[in-house]
């Protein structure tokens, strides 16, 4: 690992596209780092499940989705939300439990949503959100819309029966749904080896002869390329597809840092050169293979930082929900 990244995607991804992916990943990265930096202040009174290390998956997949395509997310929700185009200010405001949050402070970080861009909610019940994507796909088919639905979930979610039921339904009805599994090999502190017969989630769809691919989720070009195939396949009416993205969860399950890492990580995750960095790799490729100017990339980051600072300021200054509204929103 950690050898110099190679640009396998020359034919597949234009330089502009790669810069776009870079920008998306950098945005997620910088947001997560900022959240982590400020978390100890206890002003974001919400559990946070950082996507640090996993930025390439959301970025590479959502690059192929339009606003009318729908995604469904889980507890590790930040990257999905941002990559799908969710409003940054509203997300940070949600972390600060404010009325201006994307769920008006009712949901917190595990329950992000932005229906305007096709993000229909994050479920904190592991596996619980998967069939919702199937339902969206069913609706697309009935409504004859050329859209796809995407479910993002972790390796542990693939252990739930509802995942299999969902795949089966999707194949049966040939629905335009893509199951994206971010396999980071952990469920909280439990390694996949104590939970699953083998670590290859990509095998599960064999039960139904459903197409699937395993991809290096630390390589944004690879994710982009495979996701392109998957999305096109589904959008063209060929039915569902599963994409297993092998990723690294840089931090602990929730909160900042990974203070207990020595106590639960598998030995191979504790070696000094364990960590791979999809953003840094992308940056190297852009500069070395695509001749992009380093300053241009710095410019992107600077701009993002400004946007992020503004979002935090917005969130901090926003009003809290009104206690009198406690019972609002139970029903429509």
């Amino acid at each position: 690992m950690n050898e110099f990244p190679s640009d396998n995607s020359a034919g597949v991804i234009s330089t502009d596209q790669l810069i776009g992916l870079y920008r998306e990943m950098a945005r997620i990265r910088l947001v997560e780092l900022k959240v982590e930096e400020l978390y100890h202040l206890d002003e974001m009174k919400t559990p946070v499940h950082l996507a640090l290390g996993q930025e390439a998956v959301s970025s590479g997949v959502c690059a192929h989705l339009g606003t009318d395509d729908r995604i469904f997310s889980n507890h590790r929700s930040h990257a999905h939300y941002l990559a799908k185009g969710g409003d940054l200010k509203a997300m940070i405001a949600e972390f600060y439990c404010k009325e201006t949050g994307c769920a008006k402070g009712r949901g917190g970080s595990m329950h992000l949503i932005d229906t305007a861009v096709g993000h229909f909610g994050s479920s904190a019940i592991v596996g619980g959100g998967i069939p919702h994507a199937v339902g969206a796909a069913l609706a697309f088919k009935m409504q004859k819309k050329p859209c796809v639905a995407v479910s993002f979930f972790g390796d542990a979610a693939s252990e739930q029966g509802v995942f299999f039921e969902s795949m089966s339904l999707a194949v049966l009805k040939r629905l335009p749904v893509i199951f994206v599994c971010e396999n980071n090999a952990y469920s909280v502190c439990s390694h996949i080896s104590v939970r699953q017969p083998n670590p290859d989630v990509v095998m599960r769809p064999r039960a139904f002869d459903m197409p699937a691919a395993q991809v290096d989720g630390m390589d944004v070009s690879a994710v982009f390329a495979k996701a392109k195939e998957a999305v096109e396949f589904s959008r063209q009416g060929h039915g569902p597809y599963l994409l297993e993205c092998r990723v690294q969860r840089w931090r602990g399950h929730a909160g900042a840092g990974d203070p207990l890492r020595e106590k639960y990580r598998a030995p191979q995750d504790l070696t000094p050169d364990w960590m791979r960095d999809p953003l840094a790799d992308c940056e190297k490729i852009l500069m070395a293979d695509r001749q992009v100017n380093g300053e241009a990339l710095e410019g992107i980051k600077a701009e993002l930082k400004k946007e992020i600072d503004q979002a935090f300021q917005y969130a901090q200054e926003s009003p809290l929900p009104d206690k009198g509204d406690l019972e609002k929103f139970l029903f429509k």
Partner: protein
């Protein structure tokens, strides 16, 4: 002939709400079928699915011929995968459809409890009203012929405890149609629980589309001595008991709340202020069931009207036994209501 039908033909005497009147009558199942038919007709967003929906039986006659009429895209069979099926319904509801998810028995909904409790009931609130879930889940309580422990539970006592769900249990053909229409039109998840023994009963059911608002109880029979708040098939039992008691000079006021959530407290408390005495008759277990909620509500809000301890006529707290002799001991009905009423009048 399916055995549940057999049982009903034997054990449940037909009940006609509008006996002797020369009007169009439908039975309970026909009323539900007509409601679904009209909903499918009027609203292209409505679709219906369920195990055996296209069977010759048509889910107790409630879906007969609908696939032929509306096609396989809007009326379709489903795998034995309650959890993903209801999850799919939820996802499609978010996308603007109006799913009707039909299940033979409430017992089977336990397979999908996570989707019902943690998704359907939560989405609207958790996302501050942005994504309501207009979903109807229908299921039909079984009874008799050894249905036994896993095919005879009503379980509405579970659903009424979960905020975010509306819970409806009609007792007549007229109510069934009107409440089913309301359920489909509602923007929120509705658990619609039928009772297999009601399917035989008939009454006047208007041909046009009509809607019965949730949270409006009906006085199925006015009376002055005792208020009987009766749920689902216990409405019929209570009406029969009332006839019997009338001969003995005891007058029951039978109230059918129709929807348990929302619940019409007013009609109940008003009746109580007149009678001072309460029987709650439910087709569910006693402990922790909705009948307890009714009694608690009355104890809190009708305390000064209550002249006697309220009485719950509910199922004993055991799983349903199979043997018919034990079924006889297990189920509650006319004799239990009569007995409770006589005791209250002593």
């Amino acid at each position: 002939m399916p055995w549940t039908k057999l049982q009903i033909e034997r054990e449940e005497p037909a009940f006609d709400e509008n006996l002797g009147q020369d009007i169009r009558k439908l039975n309970f199942g026909e009323a539900l079928r007509e409601a679904l038919d009209q909903a499918l007709e009027r609203d292209p967003r409505v679709y219906a699915m369920g195990q055996g929906i296209n069977d010759p039986g048509g889910i107790f006659g409630t879906t007969d011929g609908l696939r032929e009429k509306y096609g396989n895209e809007r009326v379709f069979d489903t795998p034995l995968a309650e959890e993903a099926t209801i999850g799919m319904a939820i996802g499609s509801a978010m996308a603007g459809l109006r799913p009707v998810s039909i299940h033979n028995r409430p017992d089977f909904l336990m397979m999908a409890m996570d989707q019902i409790v943690n998704a359907a009931a939560k989405w609207c609130y958790m996302f501050a009203g942005q994504v309501p879930i207009p979903l109807v889940i229908r299921a039909c309580i079984g009874r008799g012929w050894g249905s036994a422990a896993q095919h005879s539970q009503s379980l509405h006592g579970l659903f009424t405890h979960v905020p975010g769900l509306k819970v409806v249990l009609p007792s007549t053909a007229y109510d069934a149609k009107g409440l089913f229409i309301t359920s489909i039109a509602d923007e929120n998840p509705v658990i619609f629980i039928e009772h297999r023994w009601l399917f035989k009963h008939q009454g006047s059911v208007p041909e046009h589309v009509y809607s019965i608002p949730f949270g409006q109880a009906t006085v199925k029979r006015p009376g002055k001595d005792i208020t009987v708040l009766a749920i689902s098939h216990m409405v019929i039992e209570s009406l029969r008991a009332a006839e019997e008691l009338e001969k003995k000079g005891i007058s029951l006021e039978v109230i059918d709340p129709r929807s348990l959530h929302p619940f019409d407290e007013e009609t109940l408390l008003q009746s109580l202020s007149k009678t001072g005495k309460l029987i709650v008759a439910d087709v569910d277990w006693k402990t922790g069931g909705f009948a307890a909620e009714v009694v608690a509500t009355v104890a809190e809000k009708g305390f000064h009207d209550l002249k006697k301890p309220p009485v719950r006529v509910c199922l004993p707290d055991v799983p349903t036994p199979a043997s018919y002799v034990l079924e006889e001991a297990f189920y509650r009905g006319v004799p239990d209501i009569v007995q409770a009423a006589e005791k209250l009048m002593r």
